[in-house]
């Protein structure tokens, strides 16, 4: 679950994000809708704890993340938040397996190959553990990115425009992956998108930017 109160964020005194109150149950799945520039990505970055908002409070999994020190926040982010970006940003110099182990290492968790293999197998890419990212198809790379986001069993899984630039079939596949994986570790799923195609598949929707 997470809870947002009186959240405001401004770049150079231009307000780009304003959320008065938004509360979400643990394990629920949400779509954040809004036109380009409405602050969807900013909201996601605030939820992920990689951007400090100008004002307001954010509680994730019962923790006020604004009250954490820099180090505590890095640790919290590594263990409880999974992030899937539109550009997948797999580490090109590391194998698929090492990309997952990196997520465990950087979160300060023990390197658990069994867990990593299990997640990859669950995403049908168990046989590509030794491959490098450039050897993967886009679909496989996306699965690896999702696997990396969920390998530490996050409380909150965030995805930024995961389906834009994908054809209809792939779009639905990607959405399905995220929903399944979020459910598998009981993570709250938040997808920020302007992609209208996936509206029908996500009952909970939160639209930002319209009140400005």
């Amino acid at each position: 679950m997470f809870e947002i109160r009186e959240l405001k964020h401004a770049y150079d005194s231009t307000e780009v994000l304003s959320v008065s109150s938004w509360q979400v149950e643990q394990g629920s799945q949400w779509l954040v809708l809004g036109p380009s520039g409405s602050g969807k990505t900013t909201l996601l970055h605030v939820l992920a704890g990689i951007l400090k908002p100008t004002a307001g409070s954010v509680r994730v999994a019962g923790q006020d993340i604004g009250a954490l020190s820099e180090n505590e926040l890095d640790c919290f982010r590594g263990r409880h938040i999974g992030l899937v970006l539109q550009r997948l940003h797999l580490m090109a110099s590391l194998t698929v397996m090492d990309n997952l182990l990196l997520a465990q290492y950087l979160a300060g968790l023990p390197r658990d190959r069994a867990r990593a293999s299990q997640v990859l197998a669950g995403l049908d890419i168990g046989e590509r553990v030794a491959a490098y990212p450039h050897e993967l198809s886009f679909g496989q790379a996306q699965r690896v990115a999702v696997a990396r986001a969920v390998v530490n069993r996050p409380k909150l899984l965030l995805a930024d425009e995961p389906t834009s630039n994908l054809d209809d079939e792939r779009c639905m596949q990607a959405l399905g992956l995220l929903q399944d994986q979020a459910r598998a570790c009981n993570a709250t799923l938040v997808i920020a998108t302007h992609d209208q195609r996936i509206k029908a598949r996500m009952p909970n929707q939160y639209t930002i930017g319209i009140h400005q």
Binding site: H45, G78, I81, M91, A92, S93, L102, Y105, G108
Partner: protein, 397 residues
Amino acid sequence: MNVATLSLGYLRARALSTALNVLLLALGVATITLLLLTMHQLEERMGRDARGIDLVAGAKGSPLQVILSAIYHLDVPTGNIPLAQAKEIAKHRMVKKTIPLALGDTYKGFRIVGTNHDYVAHYGAKPAAGRLWEKPMEAVIGAEIAQRLGHAVGATFIGAHGIADAGSDHGDAPYSVVGVLAPSGTVLDRLVLVSVESVWLVHDEHQGTDAKVTEEDKEVTALLIQYASPLAVAVLPRYINNNSEMQAASPAYETARLFSVIGVGVDVLRGFALVLMLSAGLSLFIALYNALRERRYDLALMRTLGARPRTLMALMLFEGALLAGFGAVLGLALGHALTEVLGQSLKAAQQIAVTGWTWVPAELWLIGLALAVGVLAALLPAWRAYRTDIALTLARG
């Protein structure tokens, strides 16, 4: 999965750039290693050959030449000194010990030295086979000569007149080998030792039978002198220079002078090597700085995965140190190999032996210096990595 795996992964991903930087640093390290090893062995060897010899009395001329010819057997002698005067010096109260040397002949490029048993004892050498010479025309050969020419006890040979190779043979006066010295790591390894009388005998015959050499005409080439007291340094050289046809040369002073002359060349080479290392550091810096630009998303991503800023900083510094470490190891290996090659080629020229299969403590400093170059080159990239703004970088991606 840790910082090392990550760094190695990055280095492998940029194999060419990595190899070039490692090689550049290795060349600098190798050059310095070569200098360190060669100079160390040269100084050690020259120190060993001159140990316990406080002064050399020789014919007037260049004092450096006296030292080079009488102690190291590298140069031609300045001339001969009368035996009577040499004996006078030996009797001086400030003199503890003297060793006469009579030079002039060679055998296949190795010098024949007329001397007494004190010369062998001075260097702590012992015969590995046979015995020391007792009678005229008996010879004891050094270990290196025995090995190189394959001579053993019982062999006979004929000396050639003159220190340079081109000389007439003393065809009518063969020497017989009665002993082979064990290797001592000193100049003795490369000398043929005979009695002083043998040298006189060979040259008597050379000059013809009618001109019989009298006691007064007898000469030696040089006299190695050991002081009886430290005070002798103030008295004896002046005594010799003023009261005889000889001159006194101090091995310590002359070798120091020699090394100061060689030192100019060594300094130039060392400076060149340091410039190489400096440019390696610069190249490393450019490589890491460019890598940082390629990697800005990786760095931001690692932050989203929970990496602390100082982890990213450590990653860059480690990578610099790792590159430098590879460079240092390769450079040391290369330096030792080059020294060995140089040693082999010097051996063929019968010069002072140098080997690559040894090491000097200064090499540890060299590793430290290389690592410092690597870390220094990584400092600014590491600081930039530390300051990565995650949200801004990802928003631009």
